[in-house]
């Protein structure tokens, strides 16, 4: 009798547990899948296999006597996900065995059966800080990263390493502050650039409306950030995300032809009307023929004086108007070409280091063998979306561009003019932390009305899984734990 009563009580209790608690309800219904997986919700075999648990604890459950192997579970989990999501592991080779297992267990971060609206990519910070709050305990060797990251403040995260360690690796001599000044000259200096200095076809591009009036040709060229830095899509040609391109998350590389040539046309001192500007970054021997063509061509059509021409427009007593002009020759004195090329090279040295002007360096740059002279990526371990921050004035994070410095020499190439974490944490903070006064004050103008609070989730800027140009490596990584590198 007692047994029957006990059984009935247990049954009721269990029924209540199943009906009334979320964990209990899983015993009769595992819960609906998130929307991306909903189409095979009724085909459990897509992910599940008999005696092969998939859960955040699957890596620990090892019941050999029942035929449940933790290794098999992890492999099954990873293979099931990798059959569609071909991503790499996260520094698995550098982790000790416990954490290797966790890396292989996709469900530890991406738990499904939480309903249709469940965002499988919304990984809580705890899933990151479980390792990153004490990397020494998770890594098999010495970690190259900061040992303890537990949040997103200067104290809990530290500075962005790629911005704070070392100098700007760019090799172009450029002075942002000078270029942003009216006419590109410092106060007290002569020779400002005017719109009339630019080729007529390019003036409209640089003509601004200042103080409600359009500029005339006699006005000074006034550059703004977006004259050279234009938002664009992902420069990686493999990107197929339309939003990536539309939202302007990235910036187009600065190009001489597009952003510099209007003022810094390469002429080598050969500039009669009709002569062509010399192309940028060509082999020196190709430049010679273009220089010679410009020099001889201008002489041939009477735009330049032929050497040896002693004719005069004004009469000198005795000499009169001098002898007739000699015909233009089609041979250029080598000294003239050498002198012209030297002028071109001197012009190049205005912006380039000498070692980048050798024939070898130019060839390597043209063939893509060498690194770009201006780095294409500054934040090496995080992602930044310029598109969503488009309302914010550039100076807020790039204040250094206005610093004229003490020297007349350009020094931008030595300074990384991107603010560090201090420019982020004012807005990207714990929601319970009050908006700092200095941030609130900038809301309308400097921030362009943008909200002054934003999430400080790790996944906002960091990705766990690496990208790999060779997707086959991803599959190999899935099949051979510990063989591939990790993500940002």
């Amino acid at each position: 009798m007692l047994c029957i009563v006990g059984g009935l009580v247990a049954g009721v209790a269990y029924s209540l547990f199943v009906l009334a608690t979320p964990n209990g309800s899983r015993h009769v219904s595992t819960g609906t899948l998130a929307l991306p997986h909903a189409h095979f919700e009724n085909d459990c075999g897509q992910c599940h296999a008999d005696l092969t648990p998939i859960s955040s604890d699957a890596s620990k459950i090892d019941l050999q006597w029942l035929g449940v192997s933790s290794v098999k579970s992890r492999q099954h989990t990873e293979a099931a996900c990798q059959s569609c999501h071909r991503v790499g592991n996260h520094h698995r080779a550098d982790l000790n065995s416990d954490w290797k297992s966790l890396d292989q267990d996709c469900a530890s971060c991406h738990a499904d059966h939480e309903g249709r609206e469940n965002d499988l990519t919304a990984v809580a910070n705890e899933n990151c800080t479980v390792c990153h709050s004490n990397l020494a305990a998770t890594c098999s060797g010495e970690s190259k990263r900061q040992n303890s990251i537990s949040g997103f403040t200067l104290e809990s995260h530290g500075e962005f390493r790629s911005l704070s360690e070392g100098n700007d690796s760019g090799r172009v001599k450029f002075d942002h502050a000078q270029h942003l000044l009216p006419g590109q000259v410092e106060p007290g200096e002569l020779g400002p650039m005017k719109l009339s200095s630019l080729p007529a076809t390019l003036r409209e591009r640089y003509r601004k409306t200042l103080n409600n009036a359009g500029q005339s040709d006699d006005d000074l060229v006034q550059l703004q950030c977006n004259d050279c830095h234009t938002p664009s899509g992902n420069p990686d040609p493999r990107s197929t995300l339309l939003s990536d391109r539309e939202l302007g998350r990235y910036f187009s590389p600065v190009s001489f032809e597009e952003h510099c040539q209007a003022c810094h046309a390469i002429r080598g001192g050969v500039g009669t009307p009709g002569t062509t500007e010399l192309p940028h970054a060509v082999a020196w021997q190709d430049l010679d023929s273009l220089l010679a063509a410009n020099i001889l061509g201008s002489r041939a059509i009477g735009n330049a004086r032929v050497p040896g021409d002693d004719s005069q427009a004004v009469e000198k007593p005795g000499d009169g108007f001098g002898p007739e002009s000699p015909p233009a020759k089609n041979i250029l004195d080598p000294g003239v070409l050498i002198a012209a090329r030297q002028r071109v090279k001197t012009e190049c040295q205005k912006c380039h280091q000498d070692e980048d002007l050798s024939g070898t360096s130019i060839s390597a740059a043209l063939s893509g063998e060498s690194e770009p002279i201006i780095p294409t990526r500054w934040l090496q371990h995080g992602l930044y979306d310029h598109g969503v921050h488009a309302s914010i004035q550039c100076d807020q994070c790039h204040a250094g561009v206005r610093d004229l410095g003490d020297s007349a020499e350009a020094s931008d190439q030595n300074v990384i003019m991107i603010s560090n974490i201090e420019s982020c944490v004012g807005c990207h903070r714990d929601p319970m932390v009050k908006t700092p006064d200095e941030i609130q004050a900038k809301h309308e103008v400097e921030f362009g009305g943008m909200p002054v609070w934003a999430s400080s989730d790790c996944i906002l800027c960091h990705r766990y899984h690496p990208t790999d140009p060779n997707r086959a490596l991803m599959i190999q990584a899935a099949q051979n734990p510990g063989s591939a590198e990790g993500a940002e």
Binding site: R267, G320, G322
Partner: protein, 457 residues
């Protein structure tokens, strides 16, 4: 393969050129050529923005160095040194010793030795620093608005004022043995070898040059405000420079100077280019039309006639001519007189200039010529220049058309002064043998005083 070979030769030449850097504050004009500085396309921006491209395209100074290797120069060099064929080390040695100080932007070290001359060095010609001064101590500062206050403390030259501009030109176009620590002495030996004689006039040379500056600027307006003023002041400086050169040449031969023999030999004495070319280079017929109108056969040529005529009274002044003569005077006397004449005329140039009305100036010249024909071609040429300046000022003041009667008259006088009727490559070997002072006088009266008749001397 060939392109790569040529490219490597050019690269090597550039490396060597850079290594053989000029001294004495000269830094070269390569950095001037940036499009944002002075190397923009002609027509874009203000005149300063394309001054170098204008200069390189059209200014004769830009190719002055290349002139040294053309056929005429090869002939001159061979006449100086029969072993100096082009190209050869001997050829370059002659150029270094006699030519590059004027025909290029040279430092003293470029004018000595036997190293071959770099092609780019000659190709650069008379470039920016020749006229604007060695740039080492002002290149970094000349973009500053406050640079004007510091100009006199640097090596930058004054090219805006009449005196400054003339002083800049006469270092080569008249000559000097001391300016810039260079010897620029285009003497009779060089003329005999075939070099054209130097007859510099600032206004004509200025008008011939394609301006790489703004002729309408306030600074330049002082220069063009009055042609009479500009020509008068510049001729004072011309004479001063010529006198100083004569004195420097004489100094080499004064008895109290200890000069190496090599220099003594390189500075001939007497120096014939200090005298009227046509005083000696004339027909030797008994009834030579070149006989002095004063009917004096005294062997006393006019001293520095191109510069002195109209400024120092030497015609019919045998005492003065003796003191300045090549064979009846002494180096000491000429050195002393040269220095004094120079100082007088530099002081005049630096002093106040009373600008008379252009019509009054014109009328006084015409009246003078009407009273007496010019003594010789030189005097006629100087009168022509003075009339030309006066007419230019009249045209400006009275807003005359370019084809006015005065200008037509001036053009006619110019034709009378020409050595030959047609343009000739060998005009430097010609002379005004056919020039008739009486015809010149008649032409002046006919053109400008049609109702009057000339008076004979």
């Amino acid at each position: 393969m060939i392109r790569a070979f040529v490219g490597s030769i050019v690269s090597l030449a550039i490396t060597v050129s850079t290594a053989l850097a000029q001294g004495d504050g000269l830094i070269g004009s390569d950095s001037c050529a940036a499009s944002t500085c002075h190397g923009n396309q002609i027509g874009l921006g203000e005149s300063w923005n394309h001054s170098l491209t204008q200069f390189l395209a059209n200014d004769p100074h830009a190719s002055a160095g290349l002139v040294l290797v053309n056929s005429a120069s090869q002939s001159i060099v061979r006449a100086i040194d029969r072993n100096a064929e082009y190209p050869s080390p001997q050829y370059d040695a002659v150029l270094r010793n006699r030519c590059v100080s004027c025909h290029t932007t040279a430092a003293p070290s470029d004018c000595e030795g036997t190293e071959p001359l770099e092609p780019a060095f000659l190709a650069a010609g008379v470039s920016c620093e020749s006229c604007h001064g060695p740039a080492a101590d002002w290149m970094d500062h000349h973009t500053s608005k406050s640079f004007g206050d510091l100009r006199t403390e640097t090596s930058i030259r004054d090219t805006k004022s009449i005196v400054g501009r003339t002083n800049t030109c006469v270092r080569c176009h008249v000559g000097s043995r001391t300016e810039d620590k260079l010897v620029r002495d285009m003497n009779h030996d060089l003329i005999a070898a075939g070099h054209p004689a130097l007859r510099f006039d600032l206004l004509i040379y200025d008008e011939i040059l394609p301006a790489h500056w703004d002729r309408q600027s306030v600074a330049n307006q002082d220069f063009t405000q009055s042609h009479v003023r500009t020509r008068t002041i510049s001729r004072w400086i011309n004479l001063a420079a010529a006198s100083e050169l004569a004195a420097e040449r004489a100094d080499v031969h004064t008895t109290d100077s200890s000069v190496p023999n090599s220099i003594l030999l390189s500075v001939p004495w007497p120096e014939f280019s200090d005298y009227d070319c046509f005083g000696c280079h004339q027909s030797l017929r008994t009834l030579s039309p070149r006989t002095s109108l004063l009917k004096i056969s005294d062997g006393l040529p006019i001293w520095n006639s191109w510069h002195s005529v109209g400024q120092i009274e030497l015609y019919g002044k045998p005492d003065r001519l003796k003191k300045l003569s090549p064979h009846r005077s002494s180096p000491e006397t000429i050195a002393d007189l040269g220095a004094k004449i120079a100082k007088i005329h530099r002081d005049k140039a630096d002093g106040e200039f009373e600008t008379a009305k252009p019509r009054d100036v014109f009328d006084s010249i015409v009246s003078r010529i009407k009273q007496r024909p010019p003594f010789d071609w030189h005097e006629a040429a100087v009168e022509y220049l003075n009339l030309d300046a006066a007419v230019s000022d009249i045209e400006s003041a009275e807003n005359l058309e370019g084809s006015n009667s005065l200008r037509i008259g001036i053009q006619y006088l110019g034709k009378l002064l020409r050595y030959g009727d047609t343009p000739s490559k060998e005009r430097s070997y010609l002379s005004p043998a056919k020039f008739d002072p009486g015809e010149f006088q008649s032409a002046v009266v006919r053109q400008f005083l049609p109702t009057d008749s000339p008076q004979s001397h």
